[in-house]
């Protein structure tokens, strides 16, 4: 990033002006951190500049919707919000099933700004929240690293984390998600924890617990904290580093953190009822036991206390462990949930929870994605780890454990790269700081002692700051020579420069797509915006009844609710697998079977995403096999995955595809009336083949809307009286009076009630007429 590079020369000219070292280093620190904040903020704005200030992807739309609800209706109404627009007909208690920290944060900012009479729309706050918080993360990382090593290393780490792609992947402008603020809370909690372990003061521990509370309110990843801190304590105990400071800080943190975390409705009693939290309470009990024995020891310092201590500690540990296992066995404590269990047993999710396995960010990580997200840091952070372990103390035990656990989790799941990134930045910052510190310090010794004014421009900020904090080396150390030192400097400056251009490139190319607005580039470099999603959702909100129920695959649930403002059956909060499986079954069945399911679920419209016309690969046909798998998990009698493959086991859509595939609802809705896409009309550019079933008619549905590039297709589900209904005997014929259908027309006109009554009157008139045929006609017309 330009600003990081700009941050470096700042200290050179300033140096002569400030003889006061403390003030000088503070100024440098503040300047560098401000620049890091600015650089981090600026590098996350690609999406806003290229497209517009818009909420991205899927989950952010839900967060935005609930934030807007909270701002409009107040916090308590938000906590009690029952959203009948989601998971029809079940509904969702939103207040009790979200981590409200994100909404509260942006709601608070909104409130403060409006109190100051700055009229800003809540959407803009939501869009820019994550980039702003990336600056706070940089500061928290600086604080954490300075606790661990030195302030120079802290500045390096802050600059790294401000721009590293592994973190900006989740915090670009518009990606309004929990992770955006949670990484800040994570780093800040760790910083406060190290402070409290160092000082042993109750106030720092309470601060840790408060910060932990914020983290719990913000992200489900708080489980990482509540397992890592006990692990730290446990390892310190094993290493024989028990101290009163540790005792005070952990006990205070655990009790207050436990009570606070249970205040979040979504978390509730989980901290005392589930296995994920049991490590913390086990370590608490162990610490208590060891503390008690130490106390007894202090009463009578003579005798066989040491052995008793070891034996007692081991017994206590064993007791605690057996207790937890027993309680789990008895069912008092819930066992590990599937999501966590799949981190240890990596094959588990694939067999038992297809809905987890189907998400691409739950896949394991290749080395190239490590390199993509961390670049030079990935091969330098082990150096920091090496020196942290070689010069171990209480805090560095923590960072070593942090690094080892995070690197394991990141290896198992791409998504958890996010928790690895901060610690990699810290350790790489330490590594760079050590090296440049040494290289520059010798320079300093030779050059500055004769004439301090001369040394300019060569210095790196970190070396500068660090030099002041550690005792200077004697001049005899100057052995490396000028050439080697400047060579090293130049090489490492090049590496850092490569890192910053890589970060910009990665953020710009890979992580800045809003994914609801697509861009395509022509041969001449001209850009074409494909705005099909918003077009279709806009159509939904304008042309369908207020209470219309839209069936789509769960990926699009939040977007339909957020942009179309309509009721959905399933959405991205995948809490009810059987409901999702039902939708999957409807999509995978043939039209008449699907119609049964759809009328059971009161579906009015079906929405499918079809990318064949423009070659968009993330469409429903490509996701379809997961729908089949999830449906098969719940309805093994009706859906068989093998039926959707060809006999040779290929997944195809052309004329060789299986019959089931060619006649299922998803296929028909995708290819109905499709004649675009290239030289043979109807060519599917995503799959690169011609669909095998074309020119068919739909019986139970009718096309309602197709967006400009065929990307979103919406179908209306016909009422039973609209398709070839069986002949009813004369006596049983009635004219339908209830009318969801007529409402749809009236809502479009905007004068619902009046029109409705007139139509009813007209109906009454017709009903009295003796001829049946006319009445039937009216029924059809409607």
């Amino acid at each position: 990033m330009p600003a990081t590079a700009a941050g470096k020369p700042v200290n050179g000219p300033n140096k002569g002006l400030f003889q006061n070292t403390a003030g000088f280093s503070t100024l440098i620190t503040v300047t560098v951190l401000t620049l890091a904040w600015l650089a981090g903020f600026a590098s996350r704005l690609f999406a806003v500049i290229r497209f517009e200030s818009i909420i991205h992807e899927f989950d952010p739309w839900f967060n935005y919707r609930s934030t807007a609800y909270m701002v409009q209706h107040g916090f308590y109404n938000f906590l009690n919000w029952f959203d009948e627009r989601a998971w029809y007909p079940l509904g969702r208690i939103v207040g009790g099933t979200v981590y409200p920290g994100l909404m509260i944060t942006s709601g608070t900012i909104h409130w403060i700004l409006h109190t100051l009479n700055i009229p800003i729309h809540i959407r803009d706050i939501c869009v820019f929240l994550a980039p702003v918080f990336s600056g706070l993360t940089a500061i928290a990382t600086y604080l954490l690293t300075s606790e661990l090593w030195s302030r120079g290393a802290g500045l390096f780490a802050a600059c790294f984390i401000a721009i590293v792609p592994g973190y900006s992947s989740r915090s670009v402008a518009g990606s309004y998600d929990n992770e955006g603020i949670a990484i800040f809370a994570l780093q800040f909690t760790y910083y406060l924890w190290l402070r409290s372990v160092k000082s042993g003061s109750v106030s720092w521990s309470i601060c840790t617990a408060l910060s932990y509370f914020y983290m719990v309110s913000a992200w489900g990843g708080y489980v990482f904290i509540i397992n890592l801190i006990p692990l730290h304590v446990f390892v310190l105990l094993i290493m024989g580093r028990f101290s009163q400071r540790l005792f005070v800080s952990y006990t205070v943190f655990y009790i207050i953190g436990l009570l606070l975390s249970m205040q979040i409705p979504f978390v509730g009693f989980q901290p005392i009822r589930t296995s994920e939290h049991m490590a913390a309470s086990g370590v608490f009990a162990l610490l208590m036991a060891i503390g008690a024995m130490k106390y007894l020891h202090s009463l009578n310092p003579k005798g066989q206390w040491k052995q008793l201590l070891i034996v007692g500690g081991l017994t206590a540990a064993a007791l605690v462990f057996i207790m937890v296992v027993f309680l789990t066995y008895m069912g008092v404590i819930a066992p590990w949930s599937g999501r966590f269990y799949s981190l240890w047993d990596t094959g588990y999710a694939k067999i038992h929870i297809p809905i987890i396995a189907s998400v691409s960010e739950h896949q394991p990580t290749t080395w190239s994605s490590f390199f993509f997200d961390l670049h030079v840091l990935v091969c330098t952070f082990p150096v920091g780890l090496w020196y942290c372990i070689k010069n171990i103390n209480d805090e560095r035990v923590f960072v070593a454990l942090y690094a080892l656990s995070a690197v394991y989790f990141a290896g198992v799941m791409v998504r958890l790269m996010l928790t690895l990134t901060p610690v990699v930045c810290i350790l790489a910052g330490i590594a760079f700081s050590i090296l440049l510190d040494l290289v520059l310090k010798e320079d300093e010794v030779i050059m500055t002692q004769p004439e301090p004014e001369e040394s300019k421009n060569l210095y790196d900020k970190a070396g500068k700051v660090k030099k002041r904090t550690q005792e200077p080396l004697p001049p005899a150390d100057a052995v490396l020579g000028m050439n080697v030192r400047s060579g090293t400097l130049i090489a490492f400056m090049i590496l850092l420069m490569l890192f910053s251009v890589h970060c910009t490139w990665a953020t710009s190319n890979a992580y800045s797509s809003p994914s609801i607005v697509l861009a395509s580039y022509g041969n001449d470099g001209s850009r074409k915006i494909l705005d099909d999603f918003r077009e279709a959702y806009g159509w939904l909100s304008q042309n369908t009844a207020e209470d219309a129920r839209i069936m789509s695959w769960w990926d699009y649930g939040y977007q339909i609710a957020g942009m179309g403002n309509r009721t959905t059956l399933v959405d991205n909060n995948t809490w009810n697998n059987s409901h999702i499986a039902l939708v999957g079954k409807a999509m995978a069945s043939n039209e008449s079977a699907a119609y049964e399911i759809m009328s059971m679920l009161d579906v009015d419209y079906v929405l499918v995403i079809f990318g064949g016309a423009i070659g968009y690969s993330g469409d429903d046909i490509n996701k379809f096999i997961w729908m089949v798998r999830i449906a098969e998990g719940e309805h093994p009698r009706d859906i068989h995955e093998a039926d959707y493959f060809t006999e040779r086991g290929e997944y195809r859509i052309d004329s060789e595809a299986s019959k089931t595939m060619l006649n299922c609802l998803m296929y028909k809705l995708s290819y109905y009336r499709y004649d675009s896409g290239g030289s043979p009309p109807g060519y599917d550019r995503t799959r690169g083949s011609l669909p095998g079933n074309r020119g068919f008619k739909l019986t139970y549905l009718e096309e309602a809307y197709t967006s400009e590039h065929w990307l979103v297709r919406i179908y209306r589900v016909k009422k039973p009286d609209e398709f070839n209904r069986p002949r009813i005997p004369l006596a049983k014929r009635t004219i339908p009076t209830s009318n969801a259908v007529s409402k749809k027309f009236t809502s479009g006109l905007g004068s619902g009630v009046q029109y409705d009554t007139t139509s009813k009157r007209r109906k009454g008139l017709l009903k009295n007429k003796p001829t049946i045929v006319k009445g039937k006609k009216v029924g059809r017309l409607e």
Partner: protein, 332 residues
């Protein structure tokens, strides 16, 4: 003479009668025999005659799941043993479960015992698991697709449920080998510690711990977990010789990940060498007194070269894998 005729007639009649009996009573008898066989061994091994009688001959009201395999060591079929184990797990689960009935039987044909069966069914490969339904001929879907479903017992059970509507809950005999291995390891470590209880200094050797931690980091960062889960080939043999680097960014070979781990390791070693040459972190006195300036300069230069060269190599490998990546350093 007449007597003789009578005898022959009787014999013929008897045979005819027996024959008729087998035909008439065939089904019950067959089921009875199969049940007896299953009681002995949950997978019935079939030769040509048995196969014809039990599996092919028409009066059947039971489904037959048959595995065609080549277990003889000379056939060198590595996967056959795996498939056999998993198949046995399924068969046993069915045999000892509550839903056990005589509507489903498990059988096995070894190539060396029934090559004529292979010919009859035109099978060229092994192992194959086929389902012979009670009525009608096997359809293409009646032979299991290992490629897609995998060879796990669960997958086989699911496929059987697909084909026959018999739901088998797979019950694996608990596998103690993992637990035993862990226990042995613990015992070894504990014994080792006990033997050296007077000299536990090595536990405080930070270098060892740091080295172990670094090893773990290299393992994870080079994507060994991905290898473990996805099981890619060691490297790819193509027409133009072996390919060590997977061309796409979503895949990798085992060898490739080792190369990357080595590259990462070299960069780290180079950087540590530079730091040590420049005086180390805490106790520069030791270094200074022992190593003279020239040597340290040399070490520093070597470290720098290691860092630059191997990082550039890493970057160029990454660049080769990532479409449209614009940056490189030293090498293209």
């Amino acid at each position: 003479m007449r007597f003789k005729h009578y005898l022959i007639f009787t014999i013929v009649l008897t045979f005819y009668k027996i024959d008729a009996q087998t035909r008439a009573k065939g089904l019950e008898e067959k089921v009875q025999q199969l049940t007896d066989l299953t009681a002995k061994k949950s997978i019935i091994s079939l030769n040509y005659n048995r196969f014809k009688d039990y599996v092919k001959a028409p009066p059947r009201d039971y489904s037959f799941v048959v595995m065609f395999t080549a277990m003889a060591p000379s056939r060198r079929c590595a996967i056959c043993q795996h498939v056999y184990d998993e198949f046995l797990v399924v068969a046993n689960s069915f045999r000892f479960s509550q839903i056990y009935n005589n509507k489903l039987f498990f059988g096995m044909v070894d190539f060396d015992e029934g090559s004529d069966i292979f010919q009859m069914l035109r099978l060229n490969t092994a192992p194959v698991i086929m389902h012979f339904p009670a009525k009608g001929k096997p359809k293409p879907a009646d032979s299991m697709d290992f490629e897609r479903a995998g060879i796990h017992a669960e997958a086989i059970a699911k496929w059987i449920q697909d084909r026959t509507d018999v739901q088998i809950r797979v019950f694996r005999p608990p596998n103690y080998s993992g637990a035993v291995a862990v226990a042995t390891l613990f015992a070894l470590v504990a014994g080792f510690l006990y033997l050296r209880r007077n000299n536990l200094e090595f536990l405080y050797n930070k270098q060892m711990w740091a080295g172990a931690a670094l090893m773990f980091c290299f393992t994870m960062v080079s994507g060994q977990m991905w290898n473990q889960i996805r099981g890619p080939p060691f490297y790819h043999r193509s027409k133009n010789g072996p390919v060590y680097i997977n061309g796409g960014s979503h895949g990798q070979f085992v060898l490739e990940s080792y190369i990357v781990a080595a590259l990462n390791c070299s960069v780290v070693v180079g950087m540590i060498a530079m730091i040590e040459a420049a005086g180390g972190v805490k106790n520069p006195d030791v270094v200074r007194s022992q190593v003279d300036g020239k040597k340290r300069r040399f070490q520093s230069v070597v470290g720098l070269i290691l860092v630059c060269v191997f990082f550039s190599l890493l970057l160029s490998v990454f660049r080769a894998k990532t479409q449209g990546y614009p940056y490189s350093f030293l090498f293209k």
